[in-house]
């Protein structure tokens, strides 16, 4: 079966005034239709770069990205992206933010408002429809951004640390909801995260990336029954997965930390 999303030998080098930075080094990932894959790795290992390449937001890279076996370049409407940075539109209210992609697609006002209201409710923001982002907390703004991407029901969902700005409780509950939608729509999902428990809770597979240059160091299949929810977290098997991932990640994370200290010492 051809994978829904196939990333083949993707590599990227940034040229800066301080010299070249090899951000990604020949990364290959095949994701089945409906599969939930997480990428976890130390800060600066090229996770966002990988996501920007798959999302079509970076032009000059090595390697290829295939959708259902067809080579693609540039942005694809079937790919929805939740960005790591704050990305709500400050001049639009919460509901108008969520309705944005449907407005861009030319959906009639009634329909897109109804859909946007549904999605806001899903992320727990009913009652905040007419607030501007500046009147909401960082976590609420991020939930708007997530709702905006989900509202469009993309076949392929890319999320770059979407829950990073949220507190632990909201993160767990929202993770459950996103997972529920993902399962319902059978969305092919690539999640980038720092959070090991989150990766185990949501994913079919967890890819561990090495510190610069970013490579896939290890792949761990998460063999936990679905439907899942955050209740899973107490289980013994869950703990074993978390421990196994940390084992691999620790080495890379400490390399990242050393690198940071080196930079600080050099500066």
């Amino acid at each position: 079966m051809t994978p829904a999303l196939s990333i083949q030998n993707v590599a990227k080098t940034f040229s800066t005034a301080q010299g070249d930075v090899r951000a990604l080094d020949h990364v290959s990932i095949d994701i089945r239709a409906g599969e939930f894959v997480s990428v976890i790795g130390p800060s600066g290992c090229g996770k966002s770069t990988l996501m920007n390449i798959v999302g079509g937001l970076v032009d000059d890279y090595e390697g290829e990205v295939h959708l259902d076996g067809a080579l693609v370049r540039g942005c694809q409407k079937q790919i929805g992206v939740v960005f790591q940075e704050e990305s709500t539109f400050p001049w639009r209210t919460a509901i108008d933010n969520v309705a944005f992609p449907m407005e861009a697609a030319g959906l009639p006002r009634e329909a897109r408002m109804a859909r946007a209201r549904e999605l806001l409710e899903l992320v727990g923001l009913n009652g905040f429809e007419n607030r501007f982002p500046s009147e909401l907390s960082g976590g609420m703004r991020q939930r708007i951004a997530i709702a905006r991407t989900l509202a469009f029901q993309p076949r392929i969902l890319l999320m770059d640390e979407p829950f990073a700005a949220l507190d632990e409780q909201t993160r767990l509950l929202l993770g459950d909801k996103v997972l529920q939608i993902q399962q319902e729509l059978n969305q092919t999902t690539l999640l980038i995260t720092h959070n090991i428990a989150e990766a185990v809770q949501l994913s079919d597979r967890v890819l561990i990336m090495s510190f610069r240059p970013g490579r896939i160091k290890r792949v761990i299949d998460i063999d936990l029954p679905r439907p899942r929810s955050s209740k899973l977290m107490g289980g013994e098997k869950f703990g074993q997965y978390v421990a196994a991932i940390w084992e691999d990640l620790r080495e890379e994370a400490s390399k990242g930390l050393q690198d940071m200290e080196r930079v600080r010492a050099g500066a």
Binding site: C75, K77, G80, F89, W91, F100, P101, A104, F132
Partner: protein, 257 residues
């Protein structure tokens, strides 16, 4: 409580200070004029200027002149906004054009462009077209510069959101870049409107045609000195009002974001 009253006594609110200073200045001027230190023929005392307003309204058609001048200034600012935003967009879009022209436009913003009026007089003749064209020339530099500044400052991630939904460049502009840059662009339009008023009144005065500028010029020719100053004071007052009103609109625009 007591200390609060004390401090408020020591330091009155800004508005009281401002108008107090103005009142003191006017009183001094009035006194100097009455004492004969200032010739009333060159600079009439404030009371005479104040009294001239009745004549300005009744005989000189101040209201019509005002409507005409400000109508022309607004037309100029409207036209200037369309042109200025388009040019600002081009300077933002093309890196080369931005490098080549931005500093020149900035230089124009500080030049007395009103001196270009003979050129427009030749092209359009002695009529409203020349006046509006001069208003447009005056308001263009700030609108162009602020548009470019606003568009340059749009957060890249917002543009990326638009790109992931496959927006065309025009819709990218209309749905993301323009609204994101709007507070800055509005700031440019506001300064542009003030520059347009200055140019319109200036050219009306210079070519003695239509509106407040012509009125002031006429009064000067007829040696109605007090009324002439009345006209000038009126222009200043209205400009100041515009400045504050548009400033309020601007802060309101910014705060609703």
């Amino acid at each position: 409580m007591a200390s609060a009253t004390l401090t408020s006594l020591r330091k009155p609110p800004a508005i009281v200070t401002r108008f107090g200073a103005l009142a003191l200045f006017l009183l001094g001027w009035e006194a100097a004029s009455r004492a004969g230190w200032i010739s009333a023929f060159i600079v009439p005392p404030p009371s005479e200027i104040y009294n001239s307003f009745e004549m300005l309204f009744v005989q000189e058609g101040l209201v019509d002149a005002f409507l005409r001048t400000f109508g022309e200034a607004f037309a100029a600012a409207g036209l200037g906004s369309v042109i200025g935003i388009a040019v600002g967009y081009l300077l933002h879009r093309s890196k080369l054009a931005g490098l080549a022209y931005t500093d020149w436009v900035a230089a124009m913003a500080s030049a007395p462009l009103v001196l270009l009026y003979p050129l427009f007089l030749v092209v359009f003749g002695r009529n409203s077209a020349t006046i509006v064209a001069m208003g447009v020339v005056g308001c263009l530099p700030p609108i162009i510069l602020k548009t470019k500044e606003g568009l340059d400052g749009v957060k890249p991630v917002l543009l990326n959101v638009g790109r992931t939904y496959g927006l065309t460049p025009w819709r990218q502009f209309r749905m993301i870049q323009f609204p994101a840059a709007l507070p800055t662009i509005f700031n440019g339009v506001r300064i542009g409107l003030l520059f347009a008023i200055i140019n319109v009144v200036g050219v009306e005065y210079l070519i003695v045609f239509g509106g407040l500028g012509q009125m002031i010029s006429d009064l000067g020719d007829r040696f109605e000195i007090a009324a002439m100053f009345g006209g000038i004071v009126f222009v200043i007052l209205v400009s100041v009002c515009f400045f504050f009103i548009t400033e309020k609109i601007e802060t309101w625009l910014l705060s609703s974001k």
